[in-house]
């Protein structure tokens, strides 16, 4: 097998062997329906309960506040649409959402807009930080819910969600945060953070795809999206994907335990990759500065490096890197099914041309120094080669 350096962990991650091991029995041995009354069912129910405790523990919340879903997108939809529908009144019908939310939040908000809600999209600055003044102005007595993600999936900027949550709480407005990228990389303590909804995803933390969760603070009114049996505190019907959920819980436990070593290591490798790539002429970093520059708290997700390059296009960069074994992603229009450039990059004030020349490299706890050095060298090589015949070269 050719050498591959996988740097698209923001898209998805490799399942940890230990997670796979934890899941194994639940396919052919412990395969009961957690609602069944017999021993096999009871066993599944217990495994489910343990998993629920584990996820709750990772957030400093209680098990009764965890709703398992089929992934982060579903959790986002349940929060945004479920909260909006359940709490709408004649007077209250406003939803406030940042301009850089993941499509699962953004498009859910657009759906609400089409359904007659008043939806406000909050602008962000050049580093993708949400504008708090705009938020303050948008918080009216009509507001039901605010949604601002914890860490942006594209450029890695970590939003001031403590401040946002406290503002919302003061105004009696519900607050949802999409923590799909940040969970276990950044600390989330729901006794300290007054959030009402928090979305999580398994496959971003070396767990299996097809499992996620939504934290719903006790006492919050929310309407289900999937109707049927009384599963998940009557908030999400469907026979539980016990194997997936067990995997998710195991991944969360491992990530939490290993974070004190893994997070600083990812941050260090990220910083060295950023430094290396910025040595290239006409290369720029998108999103918040890495902590090594600010000398203080890291406002950039520990594993995210996002760049733009003058005169060359993202898909071309990606595929040439792929040919060298380096796997990343891009915000260029040519690479998207819609042929539109990244909404996040445009919201940050980048021009179309700048958005086209973007590259995202995202590490994991498995990334090594050798891989990062190799990746940096490959990026330089690819950029130089593509520039040689670029129609925009200087």
């Amino acid at each position: 097998m050719e050498k591959t350096v996988y740097l698209d962990n923001a898209a998805t991650t490799r399942v940890d062997e230990r997670v796979l091991e934890a899941m194994q029995p639940f396919f052919t041995e412990r395969y009961g329906n957690a609602s069944s009354l017999h021993a096999l069912g009871i066993d599944a129910r217990n495994a489910l309960a343990e998993s629920r405790e584990a996820i709750a523990g990772a957030l400093n919340a209680s098990a009764g506040e965890i709703v398992f879903t089929a992934g982060g997108s579903e959790a986002d939809n349940l929060a945004v649409i479920g909260a909006a529908m359940a709490n709408r009144t004649k007077e209250k019908n406003r939803i406030v959402v940042s301009a850089i939310e993941h499509p699962a939040v953004y498009n859910a908000a657009e759906f609400l807009k089409r359904s007659g809600f008043d939806v406000v999209f909050l602008p962000v600055d050049a580093k993708a930080f949400v504008n708090i003044d705009a938020l303050r102005k948008a918080l009216t007595p009509e507001t039901i819910l605010v949604s601002v993600m914890h860490a942006n999936n594209e450029v890695g900027t970590i939003e001031p969600i403590q401040e946002v949550a406290e503002l919302c709480k003061k105004q009696g407005v519900l607050f949802h945060t999409d923590a799909v990228q940040s969970f276990t990389k950044e600390k989330i303590d729901l006794k300290a953070l007054p959030a009402d909804f928090v979305s999580l995803s398994s496959h971003k933390i070396h767990g299996p795809k097809g499992a996620g969760a939504l934290f719903v603070r006790r006492g919050t009114r929310v309407q289900p999206l999937v109707y049927g049996g009384p599963h998940e505190h009557r908030l999400r019907a469907g026979t539980e994907n016990v194997a997936g959920i067990v995997g998710f819980a195991e991944a969360a436990k491992l990530a939490q335990r290993e974070a004190p070593k893994a997070v600083p290591k990812m941050r260090e490798l990220r910083d060295s990759l950023i430094k290396r790539v910025l040595e290239i002429d006409g290369a720029y970093l998108n999103g918040a500065e890495p902590s090594s520059d600010t000398g203080g708290i890291d406002k950039r997700l520990c594993n995210n490096a996002h760049f733009r390059f003058d005169a060359i296009e993202g898909e071309a960069i990606l595929l040439r890197l792929d040919a060298l074994g380096v796997q990343g992603s891009t915000g260029s229009a040519c690479s998207s099914a819609s042929l539109k450039p990244s909404r996040v990059l445009l919201s940050m004030g980048l021009s179309h041309v700048q958005a086209h020349g973007s590259l995202r490299l995202s590490l994991s706890k498995f990334s090594t120094c050798e891989e990062i050095v190799y990746a940096g060298d490959c990026v330089e090589k690819v950029v130089k080669e593509l520039r040689e015949f670029s129609a925009l070269k200087k």
Binding site: E315, A316, S332, F389
Partner: protein, 163 residues
């Protein structure tokens, strides 16, 4: 039985056929011709696509051809392909090379990428137009109309970005 996708799937594993990938990774005739006899420029960086085609013309034939491209893998591969198709041809033959020719020579492109092959053929025609205009030669009316369309499209895209 797996569903057939819209894309022509010439036994390829990825988004692109082997032919497209080869031309993308190892393009032919990439570069500039400083003293070109004709230059065709089409596309718009705002859309993520810009192609400059340079031709040398001798005795009514394209004796030299090079390209510069800002764009995705399709754009680079089609640019390379058009230089292969046009080299050594007469100007009349070059004008008869269509968008479809480029795409079929490559073994088909994903539907969403077809516009990239359009750019390559258009740039060739624009380069021929440029040569004819510079040398005071007769311009076939259809070529003139094509050229006018490109000028209009370029203006409207610029306006779009400002909006």
């Amino acid at each position: 039985m797996a569903e057939k996708t819209e894309e022509t799937n010439g036994g390829r594993k990825g988004l692109y056929s082997q032919k497209v990938m080869d031309l993308f990774l190892h393009p032919h005739n990439a570069g500039e011709i400083k003293d070109a006899d004709g230059v065709g420029e089409v596309g718009n960086p705002i859309c993520g696509d810009l192609l400059k085609l340079f031709i040398k013309v001798e005795g009514g034939k394209i004796t030299g051809i090079k390209f510069l491209t800002f764009g995705c893998a399709s754009a680079i591969a089609t640019s390379s392909m058009i230089t292969d198709l046009a080299k050594g041809k007469t100007l009349e033959e070059a004008l008869r090379i269509t968008r479809g020719d480029v795409s079929s020579e490559l073994g088909g492109l994903p539907k969403i990428k077809e516009h990239c092959s359009n750019l390559a053929a258009d740039a060739l025609h624009e380069a021929v137009y440029d040569y004819l205009k510079k040398n005071g030669k007769t311009i076939p009316p259809e070529l003139e109309r094509e050229h006018e369309r490109h000028v209009l499209e370029a203006k409207s895209v610029e306006a779009h970005e400002i909006l």
